[in-house]
């Protein structure tokens, strides 16, 4: 009996596997791509080595005055000397632990909630939402035996994070309520939601902040003076909830009508239908939009510099004005930019993970 043994597979031609194959396939697959690759390589070789030289190889790290910066590269001494100020603003150094504790606590709580299969999640979540803000307030501001640190001393990354987290904390629930209100069949909630959303979306954030800082105090009696930071926070929260509402409304509209009808058919109440059927699906669909709004909010906090709040960017800028350290603005901006990038990039990474985790075949 003749047994047919197929010839063993030949290895693919050397031009299509390995490094050469990869390069051919991805970089030089057509004349146009070859030209583009060469251009890109030229740009990389022209600009990346000097950048690395400036930021790392020729940079100055040691010392504590500008005289220590003798090399041609970046003078990171400037950042080193002012690092605490960039982190905490004018917060007294002896009270730094309070800020670190407050952020450490929220970090731990969020981590606990994000890690899968941790017990008693709902209790921890309730603690985070209802109890933590009170603890954080006393830690940041003082009271209950802790010395009071007024908000004009808050600054740097700490203020940026406070603005961003409180903004997000309020924007999401308000956004959901507004989105449901706008889709509601009841005329009054609908009208109120529409007016609110369109009003806040219609003005730029700068205007909101400016009004809160410049016009509002003039209209209020002298005895009733709301803190500048609080005014800015209210402005940012209301502004962002309007945007959030529209993002979530997008998710609600993406759901087929049948979902709601099925919920009705099962005899679920409106609240049950929303919390069990509609919102979980709608929110999942718009994760990219929600995270987009969060990242935008995080970066928008820099706008508070026009009302003289010393967030990360503006405290870095005010450091440029120190006569002892004039002329180091590039270092300052690179540092601030890096920090903003780290935070925004982590948020986008987390959202991608969340999307993968919640993936139930609803997207292509």
């Amino acid at each position: 009996m003749i047994v047919h043994t197929p010839h063993p597979n030949l290895p693919p031609p050397s031009t299509s596997v390995g490094i050469i194959g990869w390069i051919r396939k991805n970089l030089f697959s057509s004349p146009l791509n070859s030209v583009l690759t060469l251009c890109a390589l030229y740009i990389i070789f022209k600009y990346v080595p000097p950048m690395i030289r400036w930021t790392l190889l020729d940079a100055n790290w040691a010392g504590s005055t500008r005289d220590a910066c003798t090399n041609d590269g970046a003078c990171w001494v400037f950042i080193k000397v002012r690092f605490h100020q960039f982190m905490f603003g004018f917060y007294p150094a002896s009270e730094y632990w309070r800020v670190i504790l407050a952020f450490g606590l929220i970090g731990a709580l969020i981590a606990y909630l994000l890690i899968e299969r941790t017990p008693k999640k709902s209790w921890v979540a309730a603690f985070t939402i209802f109890v933590y803000p009170i603890i954080a307030f006393f830690l940041f501001y003082g009271g209950l035996g802790l010395p009071v640190v007024e908000t004009y001393k808050w600054g740097g990354l700490m203020l940026t994070l406070i603005l961003a987290t409180i903004g997000m904390f309020f924007a999401l629930p308000f956004g959901i309520i507004l989105a449901l209100g706008r889709r509601s069949s009841m005329p009054i909630p609908k009208a109120l939601s529409v007016v609110f959303i369109e009003l806040w979306r219609g003005v730029p954030l700068i205007t909101v902040l400016f009004m809160s800082s410049v016009m509002l105090p003039l209209f209020m009696p002298e005895e009733l003076r709301i803190d500048k930071l609080a005014r800015a926070l209210i402005g940012i929260s209301l502004f962002q909830s309007a945007y959030m509402a529209e993002v979530i409304r997008g998710g609600l509209q993406a759901l087929p009508k049948g979902q709601m009808e099925a919920a009705d058919a099962l005899g679920l109440s409106y609240r049950q239908a929303m919390s069990l059927i509609i919102l979980p699906q709608a929110l999942k669909t718009v994760i990219p939009g929600i995270v987009n709004t969060f990242i935008e909010l995080f970066k928008d906090t820099t706008l508070v510099l026009i009302i003289g709040l010393m967030d990360l960017l503006s405290i870095v800028q005010s450091a440029f004005a120190d006569p002892k350290w004039l002329g180091f603005s590039v270092e300052g901006y690179v540092f601030a930019g890096l920090l903003y990038w780290i935070f925004c990039f982590s948020m986008s990474q987390y959202s991608q993970r969340l999307e993968r985790k919640l993936h139930t075949g609803h997207k292509r």
Binding site: R82, P217, P221, E222, G308, A319, D322, L326, S329
Partner: protein, 337 residues
């Protein structure tokens, strides 16, 4: 913008009645801290140092008031303000003194419900040229290329000055002051123009600061000084005389170092300033040693100037017209008697 300021003024007058009721001095004493509006960062005038303490000429004006009123120059709450919100912050009572390189003009003095107390720095637009050009006076700048920041009154002043002197120039416009410096350094222009107080700061940003000189001419008047709310003359007097005390102290040779010795002086002028005889602090409802506290804790005007912007600082601004009246400048304070 005109409309906006009209509304602001109208609103101010509506609420001014309630503001005038409480005396700022009493409020400050009750609060035990002076609220002072400063800039968000201007080299030598108000900027946070490495430890987060505010320093500068504008800052010291407020510290002097705190020393006079509360006997402690550190009892000041510094509130950084942008140019747009500075007047509102004062009108609404968020701050007691606005000391934020604010130019004293007729419009501001008369239509915003504010009072300018005195000039603590006579600023004005000047020119910086590179040394190798050998230019000694702004009159030699005919045909020069001039680096300038866009959208400032500087542009207007420059045009006026060259027109008046029948000279020609070519403007090289940049968006930010940092870019302007870079342009000057790269040789895009022969001259850089800005307010003189800022020229010295920009000069440090050059790779070789010694290669550039600031010309002596000033082509515009920018008197800067602390501002208070209108309608509280007591507070207005305190802020004004705190400055006068510093200027008088310099004139009499009293500094933070020798003020204790000077208490033994027999010169009646010195004794009146230090609260040992004469009217003392009565007219202002302050303690007798109010001026002593200012000089002891903050220093005299000369010390404050040199420490923040003059020879003792990296800026090295010359006294120029900010010298005392008897030393070739125009800083002059009424006598204390």
């Amino acid at each position: 913008m005109k409309k906006l300021s009209f509304i602001m003024v109208a609103v101010f007058f509506l609420i001014s009645a309630s503001l005038a009721a409480a005396s700022t001095l009493e409020e400050v004493q009750k609060r035990d801290v002076v609220q002072c509006g400063v800039s968000t960062g201007l080299p030598g005038f108000s900027n946070p140092d490495e430890k987060g303490n505010w320093t500068g000429l504008d800052v010291d004006a407020c510290r002097a008031v705190a020393a006079a009123v509360l006997h402690n120059a550190d009892k000041v709450k510094f509130i950084p303000l942008t140019a747009k919100e500075r007047f509102t912050a004062l009108q609404s009572g968020e701050i007691d003194i606005l000391s934020r390189n604010t130019t004293w003009t007729l419009t501001r003095d008369t239509s915003l419900g504010l009072n300018f107390t005195h000039t603590d720095y006579y600023d004005g637009q000047g020119f910086m040229v590179s040394k190798k050009l050998g230019i000694k006076s702004a009159k030699e700048l005919n045909g020069a290329a001039i680096c300038i920041q866009a959208g400032t009154t500087t542009e207007l002043n420059l045009a006026d000055y060259f027109k008046e002197n029948k000279m020609k120039y070519e403007a090289v416009v940049f968006d930010t002051s940092d870019q302007t410096v870079k342009g000057f350094e790269a040789g895009r222009c022969d001259v850089l123009t800005s307010d003189q107080s800022q020229l010295y700061g920009l000069r440090i940003k050059l790779a070789k600061p010694d290669d550039a000189v600031v010309l002596p001419e000033i082509i515009s008047k920018e008197p800067l000084g602390p501002v208070v709310r209108q309608g509280d003359d007591g507070w207005f007097n305190i802020v004004k005389w705190s400055l006068f005390a510093m200027i008088n102290a310099e004139e009499m040779g009293i500094s933070s170092k020798n003020v204790d010795e000077m208490k033994k002086s027999t010169n009646p002028n010195v004794r009146r300033l230090l609260g040992l005889e004469g009217i003392k602090g009565k007219g202002m409802n302050l303690s007798d040693d109010w001026a002593y506290q200012i000089i002891k804790q903050v220093g005299n005007y000369g010390e404050v100037f040199e420490r923040n912007v003059g020879a003792g600082s990296p800026l090295k601004i010359k006294r120029g017209i900010n010298a005392l009246w008897n030393k070739g400048g125009i800083q002059y304070a009424p006598p204390i008697r």
